[in-house]
Structure formats: structure tokens, C-alpha cells
Symmetry: C3
Subunit: 260 residues, 3 copies
């Protein structure tokens, strides 16, 4: 059973996602199509990369991910095809796949050049339909990366705000704000365990220290807390409210965990 | 053929829905995944319960419904698995499944406890991915409720504003506002038939009496009407407009049908 | 392998789309269900028609399209079933299918009347679930248009703003604004080639002349350009911005291409 999973900034208002799916089904009628999200903010490569990083491992091995957040579509930017461990990826060379590449044990990245894996007429504005979706559909059938193009090790890498670990505190950044207004940071659970103290608090730019707890309901409605979220990273939350709007948090804000 | 249908308040902006689907496909690669909606207002258990009540019967028997509107995720609240007639349900014990339980001829409700039907590591904030989606996928394969956990008859029940039927009028409440701004009430078609008169009108808090008609186009554009909607309940509508914003209607408002 | 693809104005907030899918799966458990979009503005028949025109050809032959933008649901308006070349269509007779009918080599349009292809109880407000989805599901199984009802050649046709081609300029209209704010016009690539000049510019009501380019990145961020979009029509865009809001463009605005 073959799966193509999609992450794009196309939104759900127009026919763009449907067009990609139609093309994929024409090439492999048996493929299963799963939407991860099409609501990445337009052109926000970092948000797309983080959504992919947080979700790909939930899918069965051999899933092919089509990730199209592609503000430079039609320009000279490269198209990529990759295998990371047993997962497959297709998308533009702008860093949107690179957070997953950082994590893989075995990573093979190639330039997607083979014209046979594209529509006969390629538009300048919709490579999702004309290049990426058909390449993904062929990959589900043939599973040959080398047929797509030559190795391409110099792909663009996004900066990842690796947490700084000091004896008494850890410093990271907000990397993503989700639908509920939770602010997900780059501080991972493993780093927090290194802090030699049992009483820890978190604070972010312009907000007061808050307790680190394990679930939302441990604080009163409307009160802030930090917890290890479902992606394995520290999140700043407000019980039953949006932390982003209640506390005025944005992507890039510094967050610190410290002993108390 | 097995189906899992989803109702959540996760929105379509992040990867949360995709993660649940990836997990389900890893357990049962042949399952069909259908989104009912992921746009239930955050934490609105009543809206989730009504969406389920209005849609489950449209699906084939044996469909497994995963309903995750779960503001108390990670706390001591129970998880439930249930069979109502020939449909299956998985979700938190907060009432979100209870409007369907009211309706069933045969209702079996159990606490979902078996660890084998969950991911090895369970987060405190995303039981949709870690507990509910895998349980649903196992149910599509094994169909054994008793393997999930012990009977749990004391599940939480939502209040349903049962219509009050008097000789000359019926009194109910607005229970849901839909995408078009139609205000769906708890007054069912069967109760309205009991009113011993052929000329009936409806009115709601703060709005004037309006005719009961059978379709929108029977009144002029911008004019209010009431009709029996597709869920079998009286709806307050405005032709080609939002009744909710035009008439200022909210969930919980009293609606009356009366003889004229 | 059979596909039903959906275009509606139902939104993704309620259970309406899920209900249609549940009904379709009950009739043909093997059918693949693809959402093109459910975010057509409420009652905007022109937008629905253009979304269909732009996407249907991306799907495999034999796909059945269910198009429900249906403000007159429940009134005397007809329901249609059609075959255009090797594609199938189901929807109300209000013009929403008519832009595709214009394009077909062989077009067969019938009134959808056969009660056997509908739910036993038909609501007055949700023909998507009660009439169109079941008809589409039966079509994927039986492929017989003539069983659905009699020929109906007098279906409603939408006006299409055919571009006016003069020796030195072409005049058309904005027909659709997409999620990115691109303004798609009725001026097709083929008409533009007829202009006997290599230097062409475009302008729209209330905005200055802009260059015609092949991709967004050929102008600076925030600058306007025109290009042949992925549907084969001239689009007015602003690099990394919404052209609609930056330039104040609306559907129906006149756009001209001229020699410079």
C-alpha cells in the first residue's frame, strides 16, 4: 500500500490541492492521499519545515511526502527528491525538507531533473501539480531515486536554533505557533533533563516565569504553563486560551528554562 | 471495507490531523479515512457532540468514529470506546459521544484502558494521536470492544434541551450555528407535527415572528424563515444571508413555534 | 478504480461534506473521494464553475465530479447529470457545470430525475447528501447516464467574458481571485500570442501598466506583474503579496494587454 502525504501553503480555498491529487491518481490509481496541512502561511518555509519534522515519523515507512512551500517557483531554484531512512520526500530546494535531513541516519538527496517524471507542459507557477505530484506518484510505483536525477549534496539548509545548555538554564527559541496558540520551542525534553534540579520554570521575552507541568488542566483556566508537547519540545501554553495572543509570543522569541 | 471518520477541534492549520491518520494507516493500511470536520471551536464539546449526532447515520454500518474535542487531555478524565447499534466510537469521557448514546437501541460503553491499543510513548497533550487513533485502527481490524477495557456505564452525559410541547406552542433552544449562519434548534419535526394547527410561525429571542417554509427561496433574499433542516430539526435561516449575524442569534437562545 | 471529486460551498466547519462522503461510501465502498474545494464563497456559482473548469482535466478519465453551489436548493430548479468527453458531472442546473460543457467535444446533459438514485427521504436543504452524492456513487458503479433521466439541452449557461482581440490590444475580465490574491483573467495564452509584438504589458482598472513575465521572482518583492498562470489564463500578481488587496482588484474588473 502506497501513501502520498501533502504539506503546502496552497490553502483549501482553490482547486490547487485537488489538481495535485488528480494528477497523482492518474499515475498511480491505488495510491492513498493524505493531507497533513495546506495552511502553512504563504511562503513560510520554516513553518513548513517544522510541520514536516513533527509529523513524518507518524506515517508508515515508505510514505512519500510532497512538501510545496515554494515562493521562488519558476525561478532557477532546484527541485529535490530524497530518501531519509525509509521515508521519501519531494519538494523545492529552499530548506523546507532540511530539518528532516538533519535527523536521518541515512540521507540521500538528489536533484529532480528527469523530464519523464513531470507533466508534458510545465507551468511556471504550479510545480506542485506539474513536477512534484507526478514525481511522488512515480516514486510510489518505482521507488528509484537515482532515476530522478544526480546526487545533490549542496541543498539549502535552514538554521535550527539549537538550544544552549548552561549549568543552571537552557536557552532556545519559539519555532512554531499552532492552531490553539501554543508556542512550540526548540528546547527538547532531553536537554531539559540535563538541568541538575527538580524545580524548573520557564520564561519568555516579556512574560513572567511560569511552572513546567505535564498537562494543561494543572493550572487554572487562563493561566500560563510550560510543558513537553507532543512533538517532544517545550511548549508555552495557556490553559483553554491562546498563549500566543494572551502572552504576545511570536516565532523567534527567546525562551529560557531555569532552576528555581 | 473499513472506515474511520474524524471529528476534532484540531483545525486544519497544523499537522495534528495528519499525524492521527499516519498512525492509523500504520496499523491498518487498508482503512479509509474520512474527515467529518476538524473545525469544532476549540474545546466546544456541545458542538462536537451535535456534529456527530447529525452525521454518523450517513455512514456505512461498522464505521469507527474518532471524536476528539478534549480540553482536559492529560488529566484524570477517562477515555471511552463504544458500540451504538452497529457503529463504533472512540473519544474522551466528557459528553462528546453522549448525544449519540441517547439515541441508540443497543449501547455498549467501555473505558479504553488496554495499553496494547496505544502508542508505546503516550504524550500528555495529544491523545488523538497516541490513544484514540490507534484504538480506532485496531477496532477496524479486531472489532472487539471487550478487549479495550471494562464496561463503564457512568459516562458523562451532556444536557440536551428537550423541546417543551404545549397545546399551542413548542419551546426549544438553538443548539448549533452552521457555516452558512443557519441556527439549528432542538425542536424536531415530529414535535412540530403535534401542534394542532396548520398555520405555524417561529420566533426567537429578540427577533420577530417568521413563517415556517420548506426551502430558502420561498422568502425574498435577506428575509428570515424557519424550516425543517437536513438534520430533522427546525432551523432559523435568512435567505442567502447568515441568520446568526443578521438576527443576532447565539447557541442557547430560546426558540418557539406557535399557532397563528 | 473509481473517483468522486467534490466542489462545494459547504465550508469545512460543519459535517455536511462528511455526510456526503458517508452516503457515497455506503453505495460504493471502493470509491476514492477527493476534495477539490469546499470553500467556494456561499452561493457564488461563477467561482464554483471556474474552479471546476480549472481542475477537472487534472483528474483521470471517468472521474465523477459532484459540484454543489446551490443557493436555490429545494426550489423548482433542475438537477443535472452529464458526461463531457470521458468525465462525469452531477450538480444543480444553475450554470455551475456550464463552463465545462462549453469546452467538451461530446457533451451529454440529462435531467437527474430517477428516484432510485436518491435517498428515500429527500430534505429540502441538503441535496448534496440526498440527491447528488448518491447519484454520483451510482454513476461510479453503473456508468449509465440514460438511467438517470431524459436529455435536457436547455440547461442554464453562465456568461463567459470572452476576450476581445484587437490588432494592438486584448480586453478581458478578472474571473477569479485565488488564495494567494492572484487575479485570474479570461484572457488566454492563445489570444495573447495573436498580438503582433514582442513587448507586451498589462493593466487593470485603476492600476498602472505592469510587465508580462514568466514567474513571480522576476520582479522585486511587492511589485506587480502579469503572467500566464497554471490554468492557461493571464493572471495579475504581486510578488509575495496579494495582488487583489495590494492593487484593489475585484472579479469583473476589466484587464487589458497591449503592445508597448
Amino acid at each position: 500500500m502506497d501513501i502520498i502525504a501533502f504539506i503546502t501553503d496552497f490553502g483549501n480555498d482553490d482547486w490547487y490541492v485537488g489538481s495535485m491529487k488528480g494528477i497523482a491518481l492518474g499515475i498511480n490509481p491505488k495510491v492513498k492521499l493524505v493531507d497533513i496541512t495546506h495552511s502553512i502561511p504563504a511562503g513560510d518555509v520554516h513553518a513548513g519545515a517544522f510541520a514536516l519534522l513533527s509529523s513524518f515519523w507518524s506515517f508508515p515507512k515508505r510514505t512519500v511526502f510532497v512538501v510545496v512551500v515554494d515562493p521562488k517557483v519558476g525561478s532557477a531554484r532546484k527541485a529535490l527528491v530524497a530518501r531519509v531512512d525509509e521515508y521519501y520526500f519531494v519538494g523545492p530546494d529552499n530548506g523546507v525538507l532540511s530539518l528532516v535531513f538533519r535527523q536521518g541516519k541515512t540521507v540521500e538527496v538528489r536533484a529532480l531533473k528527469e523530464k519523464r517524471y513531470a507533466l508534458p507542459y510545465i507551468s511556471t507557477t504550479f510545480h506542485g501539480r506539474d513536477i512534484f505530484a507526478p514525481a511522488a506518484a512515480y516514486l510510489t510505483k518505482e521507488r528509484s531515486l537515482s532515476a530522478c536525477g544526480p546526487p545533490y549534496p549542496n541543498y539549502i539548509r535552514l538554521r535550527w536554533p539549537e538550544p544552549s545548555v548552561y549549568p543552571d538554564r537552557i536557552r532556545g527559541e519559539v519555532v512554531y505557533i499552532d492552531h490553539f496558540g501554543n508556542a512550540i520551542t526548540s528546547i527538547d525534553a532531553f536537554s531539559i533533563e540535563k538541568l541538575q534540579t527538580s524545580t524548573k520554570e520557564a520564561k519568555c521575552t516579556g512574560c513572567e516565569a511560569m511552572p513546567i507541568r505535564t498537562h494543561y488542566e494543572e493550572v487554572e483556566e487562563g493561566k500560563p504553563l510550560a510543558l513537553i508537547g507532543s512533538s517532544g519540545f517545550l511548549e508555552i501554553s495557556v490553559n483553554r486560551r491562546s498563549a500566543a495572543s494572551t502572552l504576545g509570543i511570536s516565532v523567534g522569541d527567546v525562551v529560557e528554562v531555569f532552576s528555581r
